[in-house]
Subunit: 497 residues, 2 copies
């Protein structure tokens, strides 16, 4: 190392970095992820400022940018946390502790933890890369009961949240830049971000705002024809149902059309069904899984390649921080399945705590179990409150000047359309901002409420939207709506044409 001596003794000055923005992975540079983007980063800075001074026009930051229920005081399901804590600390299950522990834990929680640990061994050990076999069996039972059609544990992969599952399936599907994946507009930006990373071609199709964000198969066909005519190899269709950010819930008839479309066009169907229990009009718009609808159709359709995703982060469970979920891979080529396994094994295994919650989500307390009543009551309480809040916020948005908002039939979000004064759009333009981004930044500055501009999800050209969760706690909800209303009035007055 003779030539280093002079460097080591030279005067100190910053040198050029080896890895810079101009020479790093360009696909990463192209990724946009607005849910935790500019608004969210600014909200964190404001939170820090609030902690230091009291100089802002609001007392707290309200994170409506992300479906994170327990951040906004939603209580976890007691039974789930009890079982999880027993799995963490198996000393509590020792016979000598039983007389004390049974004062703190119901019998069914103790029993469930024992069964799980019998199958898992230790939560500190790597599990099977596909997920713990016992838990995959419970997932398969859950799907079988939900759909009335058998599911096979070998087709289930446990994942670190649905996001990780989506990323792994998309990475398998994408061959190169020519691979096209149909994604909705508006969409959850996980999809566009992952396609950017993989350097694949997103093929957008429009959800119809005037028809409650439903999906029009004729439009789908147009998107595919155009893309294929341009040399794009369209291979898969992403559907988020119930919708994010749009809250629609597809009718069974519409789902059948989609399945026929995928079958005819030789397209893999990717069904993001993480909001399957967040259904607010269960009679008019019940949830149907794509697997069930597929299996109820003529058997010729049964070999359509379908991957459906679920998660412990949503529903009434909201255990986002644990990163748990699963996907079911239906009619996928066995050789491709082996490749999915191999790629899962490089990351060793999904975290075991997330897997345990998947087990509990799929097999909650049953009639006759000690925890059944409490469990039901907790689920009902959260559910009814979410439903009330979704309607309250929808009514609030629809009462605002220039704003229209479809109801949320499902999920955790509303996606109102805002018609902004020309002056606001011009001012936004002068600041180098999209108009919806500008509106959302002003909302954050005035109220502390952090939402995500529609441009982060994609929207029909010439329209502006934003996405807000309806997760703020119910006792604060009227204030929350009032703050938004006041902000909007002031904004409109300020920029009125």
């Amino acid at each position: 190392m003779t030539n280093n001596q002079s460097i080591a003794c030279g005067t100190q000055q910053p040198r050029r970095k080896t890895i810079r923005l101009d020479n790093m992975n360009a696909h990463i540079k192209n990724v946009e992820y607005a849910v935790r983007g500019e608004l969210a980063i600014k909200a964190e800075a404001l939170r820090d400022q609030l902690n230091k001074t009291n100089s802002l026009p609001f007392k707290t930051i309200v994170n409506c940018n992300i479906g994170n229920p327990q951040q906004l005081q939603q209580k976890p399901i007691t039974f789930f946390r009890q079982v999880a804590s027993l799995c963490d600390n198996p000393d509590l299950l020792l016979p000598e502790n039983r007389h004390i522990v049974s004062q703190l834990y119901p019998e069914d929680a103790l029993h469930r933890a024992e069964v799980l640990l019998e199958h898992i061994g230790s939560v500190g050990a790597y599990s099977h890369s596909q997920g713990i076999p016992h838990i995959r069996e419970n997932v398969a039972k859950f799907i079988t009961e939900r759909d009335g059609y058998a599911a096979n544990p070998d087709n289930i992969y446990l994942t670190q949240g649905a996001s990780a599952g989506v990323q792994s399936i998309l990475s398998i599907l994408v061959k190169d830049q020519s691979t096209g994946i149909l994604i909705p507009t508006p969409q959850y930006p996980l999809y566009s971000a992952t396609l950017s990373l993989l350097d694949a071609t997103p093929v957008p199709y429009l959800l119809d705002e005037s028809q409650d964000w439903s999906l029009n198969v004729t439009d789908l066909e147009k998107s595919v024809s155009t893309a294929r005519a341009n040399g794009t190899d369209v291979r898969a269709l992403v559907i988020i149902n119930p919708g994010n950010p749009t809250g629609q819930c597809l009718s069974e008839e519409n789902m059948r059309e989609i399945i026929e479309f995928c079958y005819t066009q030789q397209i893999v169907l990717l069904a993001d069904e993480v909001y399957q229990t967040n259904i607010y009009e269960p009679e008019a718009r019940p949830f149907h899984s794509f697997k069930k609808v597929l299996m109820s159709m003529d058997s010729v359709f049964h070999d359509l390649e379908l991957v459906s995703f679920h998660s412990i982060s949503k529903g009434m469970i909201g255990e986002c921080g644990r990163r748990g979920g699963y996907f079911e891979a239906h009619a996928i080529d066995p050789e491709v399945m082996s490749q999915i396994y191999k790629i899962a094994s490089v990351s060793l295994c999904p975290n075991v705590h997330g897997q345990i919650l998947v087990d509990l989500m799929c097999q909650p307390p049953k009639q006759g179990d000690a925890s059944f009543e409490k469990y039901n009551q907790e689920i009902d309480t959260i559910y009814s409150s979410l439903r009330r809040r979704s309607r309250k916020l929808e009514a609030c948005f629809n009462s605002l000047e220039g704003v229209t908002c479809n109801p949320a039939f499902g999920a955790m979000y509303l996606f109102p359309q805002i018609r902004l004064p020309a002056k606001a759009i011009a001012d936004a333009d002068a600041h180098g901002k999209a108009a919806d981004n500008f509106y959302c930044l002003e909302m954050l500055d005035a109220t502390g409420v952090c939402v995500v501009p529609g441009s982060g999800f994609g929207q029909k050209e010439g329209t502006w939207h934003f996405r807000s969760t309806f997760l703020p706690a119910e006792d604060l909800f009227d204030d929350f709506c009032e703050n938004l209303t006041n902000f909007h009035k002031q904004f409109m007055n300020k920029y009125r044409d």
Copy 2:
């Protein structure tokens, strides 16, 4: 959908899949990951067979293919599990339960859980994408105390195990096929697998088996020159220290040479330091972090880009199933740091349970705390036993005909060289197997012990090795060594030239 009617009514026959081995992502197809490869899959099949019948020449499968201590009965650290279970079930912290709970939990565990929950809120909420700020501060304190040089919490990223951190940093570094990353031979196959996925160019350098697997900077220079002459843009050097699969522990002097080399050659240093507490000759071969060595050198070197990785899966902790870890990014370009944050945010956050364990690893009980003595005793017991077992297995391997094995100065593995009879090599060849793979498959069939062939890690041409952990429980360890010895004798007798 007029053209579907005929299809729906047509006779049923399997059709060509949309996604097949021949048109899926070719980079995934190229990935090899032997730690959970053919041997491990066969071991699982044998385990299933054992559960059904008793027809095999052994009673259990012993997974020495992977560093998974708690799978092989290593006990978790009591204090860690206590705190984790309290965070899971905060009802245990309610005042009305305190008189019962304090019979089960020491005061410091209760206090730690309270402090953590105060900063975290709920373990069920998504955290900051970079990791919980309070925990990152504790990691920075740990590094500062370990090294005697300050660490900045803003440079710490909490990750889902070290593997996730390595994958995210490599994905940032790789621009295209021309990007070269120096990786050791032998190496942990996470590196080669990730480079295959990213379609980057691995630039191998040899560890010197005759010099206790040390690293020769002259060889490094040759590897870089050759690669650069061939148009490869060599950007980073991966060093696993203590070594996996090789168990070496680098001297401070050797580390200084490596740092000078990276500085001169404008190469980012990636230091995989997950085995930093698995040190079995602490006087002769103590662990030094690259960060510490770097900071102890002339300040001209301080702006060398260095990323170092750590994990809760190894050491005496062995909490693999929780998927927790961190990396410290030193002197990385601030614009690149923003990109690292963005890409972390697409996956929302590392699981909170893993983050909690990182906190506990970095700030274990201190002198005067109720759990201090028990904690120390548990760590010492595991450590002494690991050390004894490493020596016992090393002696066992060195006693075998044609086998030589360097000691493990660190980590959890031995990597013996096996000199196989020509007849065995020919027989392996006739079966289409690498000779070391053939040997390991015969070992599995005869003993139920699953190890990984050297070819899964890379090895000098013409040599054969395998990697085995020394993790089987101590009371079974003599039997384990005896089984391996008997197998080896029979194998050599069978194939003797």
